[in-house]
C-alpha cells in the first residue's frame, strides 16, 4: 500500500429518528477513495447513496439524523470536527454538485457572485479578484461569452449551463474531492453527454477525486473507475468498473444489469425479455440481521434468511456480500 487513501469511510451509520421507529438509511458502510480516483456509488431510490454523500459533508440535520462511525479525510475524522472547522472544508477541500441545478443555485444572486462567494470566503480574494476568477472558471467549464454570463442570474441560463455553473462553483477552490450527486439525471441526453465529457476532461486537468452518486449504470460505465453497489443502506458489492460489468457476483447487481435494456438491442435480432427483480426494497425501520436482499433473491435459502453474509473477496479487488457468490481462484 503506497499511501493512505484521500477519503476513508469506516462503518458509517446514518440513522434518522422518525415517529414510527429508527430509519437505518445507511447501516455500516465502509469504503475508501484514493486521490484522483473516480468512484461511483450506484443503487436505487432509498438505498442510502445520497444520505452517504450528505453524511460525508455533514449536511444532515442532527437530530433527527445521527451519524456514527468515522469519515477520515486526509487522516482527519470529519465527524469530530467543530462546525467552524467543517465550514473550512466544505466547498474548499470537498465540494459537491447536486442533481437539480435550478434549486441549488440562489435565484437572486448573479452566477458571478455565487462562484465568487466561495473564493472570497476560503481564499480571501477581493471582490474584483473573485469576479475575475469566476470568469476564468466559467471559461474552464465551457460557457460561451463568460464575461457576459458572469453578470447573469440563474433563470437566464439553460439547464445544461446551470449545471456547468454548479461545476464551476464546485471547482473554484481546487477541491481534492468532488461529490457529484446525480449530476446529469435532470438533463437531456445530448446535454448529459456534454456534461459527462466536461467532467472527464476536468478530472484530467484539475485532478480531483470524484465520488459519483447515480442510479444510471450507463453513466457509471462511462465515468467511473471503481463501483460500489448499495442496497438497503449497505454495500453489497464493490469492484473495478470493467470487472463489475463483466463479472457481477451479487445477485442484486446481476439483476440490475439484466434489467436495463442496451441500446442496439434490436440490431442483434434477439428478442429478450427484461429481467425483473421481483418484490420491493425492505423497510429500513426494522433491523435486518440477515441478508438484506434475501426477500427478493432468486437464489435465497434458509441460510440467507438467518445469517448476514459478510463482504468478502470473491476475486482480486472484488468483494461481494453473498453466501452463494462463487469465489474465483486467486493468485497467492
Amino acid at each position: 500500500m503506497p499511501e493512505a487513501p484521500l477519503l476513508e469511510v469506516d462503518n458509517l451509520q446514518t440513522h434518522f429518528r422518525t415517529p414510527d421507529g429508527i430509519n437505518r438509511a445507511v447501516d455500516g458502510l465502509s469504503f475508501h477513495v484514493n486521490a484522483g480516483e473516480t468512484v461511483a456509488i450506484v443503487g436505487e431510490s432509498g438505498c442510502g447513496k445520497s444520505v452517504t454523500s450528505m453524511s460525508i459533508l455533514r449536511l444532515l440535520p442532527e437530530p433527527p439524523g445521527k451519524i456514527a462511525g468515522a469519515i477520515r479525510f486526509q487522516g482527519r475524522d470529519l465527524l469530530k470536527l467543530s462546525d467552524k472547522e467543517m465550514r473550512g472544508i466544505r466547498g474548499n477541500d470537498i465540494s459537491m454538485i447536486f442533481q437539480e441545478p435550478m434549486t441549488s443555485l440562489n435565484p437572486v444572486l448573479t452566477v458571478g457572485r455565487q462562484i465568487g462567494e466561495t473564493l472570497r470566503l476560503h481564499q480571501g480574494l477581493s471582490k474584483a479578484q473573485a469576479e475575475a476568477k469566476a470568469v476564468e472558471m466559467l471559461k474552464l467549464v465551457g460557457i460561451p461569452a463568460p464575461e457576459r454570463r458572469v453578470k447573469e442570474y440563474p433563470h437566464q441560463l439553460s439547464g445544461g449551463m446551470r449545471q456547468r455553473v454548479m461545476i464551476a462553483m464546485a471547482l473554484a477552490c481546487n477541491p481534492k474531492l468532488l461529490i457529484a450527486d446525480e449530476p446529469t439525471t435532470a438533463l437531456d441526453v445530448t446535454i448529459q453527454a456534454q456534461i459527462l465529457d466536461l467532467m472527464r476532461d476536468l478530472k484530467h486537468r484539475v485532478g480531483a477525486a470524484i465520488v459519483l452518486i447515480t442510479h444510471d449504470l450507463g453513466v457509471v460505465a462511462e465515468v467511473a473507475e471503481r463501483v460500489i453497489v448499495m442496497y438497503a443502506g449497505r454495500k453489497v458489492e464493490e469492484a473495478p468498473v470493467r470487472e463489475l460489468f463483466a463479472n457481477p457476483k451479487h445477485p442484486y447487481t446481476q439483476g440490475l444489469l439484466g434489467a436495463v435494456p442496451k441500446l442496439g438491442s434490436s440490431l442483434t435480432g434477439e428478442e429478450t425479455r427484461l429481467a425483473e427483480i421481483p418484490g420491493l426494497v425492505p423497510s429500513l425501520k426494522q433491523r435486518i440481521d440477515y441478508c438484506v436482499f434475501a426477500g427478493r433473491c432468486p437464489k435465497a435459502t434458509d441460510l440467507c434468511r438467518k445469517v448476514d453474509p459478510a463482504l468478502e473477496a470473491k476475486a482480486p479487488n472484488h468483494t461481494a456480500a453473498c453466501h452463494y457468490a462463487e469465489k474465483e481462484l486467486m493468485a497467492a
Binding site: D188, A193, D197, H215, G218, A221, F245, L256, K262
Partner: protein, 359 residues
C-alpha cells in the same frame, strides 16, 4: 447489418389490422399547437410558443409508436392533443375514421373511452382521497361499461389481475403503494375503460431500474394479449428500442425522422437522431463509440430558427439548411427523414458514409 433492412422484419412492421383493414387506428395530420404568450400593458398576445408545428403520423391497431425527443420538443403536447386535453391550433386528429379534434363535447365521450393515458408521475396522477377501488371504478361507471354491481366487481377483479396486483389491495389508498405499484394502478385505470389506444407519457421514466423492467414487461404483455396500440412518449432510447415497433423523433415541434425500429437504430438518416443515439451512455465500460457531442442548447420554440430547425446545432450544416426547410422524405423502405443531406448521392452523404453511432 443493413442487408437485413430490405427484408421486412417480422417484429418491426408486420402488425395486424383488426376489424378495419388498411385504416390506421389513429391518424394525425399536420397537427399544430401554438400557445399564445401574453404580456405588455394590456395583456395582449405578444407572441406564440410553437410547441407543435406541423406533425403527422399514424398508428395501426396493436402497434407501438414511440415519440422520442428532448425536453421541450413538443412530444407531450402531441399526446395531450390526441387526448384532446386542449383544442389544437390546426390540423386534424382522426381516430378510427372519426375526426375527433372538431367533435363537440357531447359526442366526444365515447371516443374518450377509446384513448386512455398513463402519466409519468405515479404519485401525483392518482387522487390521494380515493381508494383504489373508486379510482378503477370511475372509468367503468363513467362510460357505462358495467351492467350491474356484480359485473363491476368482476371487471375490477379482472383489471387487478391483469396488472398483477393482489385483488384484496383494491380497498387500500394510493399512499399505501410503492411507485411501481402505483404505476400499475395507473395502468389498471387506463385499462378499465377498455381502450384501443393508450398514451404512455414518460410512463416508466420516474421508476427505479428494477421496477421499470417490471412495468415495461407488463406493458408488452398487455399489448400482446389485448391488441392495444400504444403511443409511447419517452426520452429513454434504450427502453424505446426494447419495446417499440416504430419510432418518430421530434425536435423543436417537428418530426425529423420516422422509421421502423430496427431501421432507425441501424441506419439513422437524420443528424439529430445520430447525435441522440450517440449520446446515450451505454452500460458497457470501455465500449469504443463515436460520440457526436452537439454544441449549445435547443433553441427557443418561441422563435425557432429559419430553414431547418436543427441547423444551429447540426455538425453538417450548409447554406441550404439555413433558408429551406427540409421535408420528410423516404430515405429507406418505410423510413422517412427530414434532412437535405439525403438528397445527395449515398457516397457523398455523411449520414451514410460515416456509419452509425451504434456500430
Amino acid at each position: 447489418m443493413s442487408a437485413t433492412l430490405s427484408t421486412t422484419p417480422t417484429t418491426d412492421s408486420a402488425v395486424s389490422h383488426g376489424s378495419t383493414p388498411g385504416r390506421p387506428l389513429l391518424q394525425v395530420d399536420d397537427l399544430k399547437k401554438h400557445f399564445p404568450l401574453r404580456g405588455g400593458l394590456l395583456g395582449g398576445v405578444t407572441g406564440h410558443v410553437y410547441a407543435v408545428d406541423g406533425v403527422s403520423f399514424e398508428i395501426a391497431k396493436g402497434e407501438t409508436l414511440s415519440l422520442v425527443g428532448e425536453s421541450g420538443c413538443g412530444k407531450s403536447t402531441v399526446g395531450k392533443a390526441v387526448l384532446r386535453l386542449f383544442d389544437i391550433t390546426s390540423g386534424q386528429v382522426v381516430l378510427d375514421g372519426t375526426r375527433i379534434d372538431t367533435l363537440p363535447n357531447s359526442s366526444l365521450k365515447p371516443m374518450r373511452r377509446r384513448v386512455q393515458v398513463v402519466f409519468q408521475d405515479p404519485f401525483s396522477s392518482l387522487n390521494p382521497r380515493m381508494r383504489v377501488r373508486d379510482i378503477l371504478a370511475e372509468p367503468i361507471r363513467n362510460f357505462g361499461l358495467a351492467k350491474d354491481r356484480a359485473d363491476l366487481d368482476r371487471r375490477l377483479n379482472e383489471v387487478m389481475d391483469t396488472v398483477r396486483l393482489p385483488r384484496d389491495a383494491i380497498t387500500r389508498w394510493p399512499h399505501e403503494f410503492s411507485g411501481g405499484q402505483r404505476q400499475r394502478i395507473g395502468i389498471a385505470r387506463a385499462l378499465a375503460a377498455e381502450p384501443d389506444l393508450i398514451i404512455c407519457d414518460e410512463a416508466v421514466s420516474a421508476l427505479d431500474v428494477s421496477v421499470k423492467a417490471q412495468i415495461v414487461n407488463l406493458l408488452q404483455d398487455l399489448q400482446r394479449k389485448l391488441g392495444l396500440a400504444l403511443l409511447f412518449i419517452s426520452h429513454d432510447l434504450a427502453i424505446v428500442e426494447h419495446m417499440t415497433h416504430r419510432v418518430a423523433v421530434m425536435y423543436l415541434g417537428k418530426i425529423v425522422e420516422v422509421a421502423p425500429r430496427r431501421s432507425l437504430f441501424a441506419a439513422p438518416r437524420h443528424p439529430y437522431t445520430q447525435a441522440l443515439l450517440s449520446a446515450v451512455p451505454v452500460p458497457q465500460p470501455g465500449a469504443a463509440r463515436k460520440r457526436i457531442v452537439l454544441q449549445g442548447d435547443v433553441p427557443s420554440p418561441i422563435n425557432p430558427p429559419s430553414g431547418c430547425r436543427f441547423h444551429t446545432r447540426c455538425p453538417y450544416v450548409f447554406d441550404r439548411c439555413r433558408v429551406e426547410e427540409p421535408l420528410l422524405k423516404l430515405a429507406l423502405p418505410a423510413h422517412t427523414a427530414a434532412c437535405h443531406l439525403n438528397d445527395l448521392p449515398p457516397e457523398q452523404n455523411p449520414l451514410i458514409r460515416d456509419g452509425t453511432p451504434l456500430h
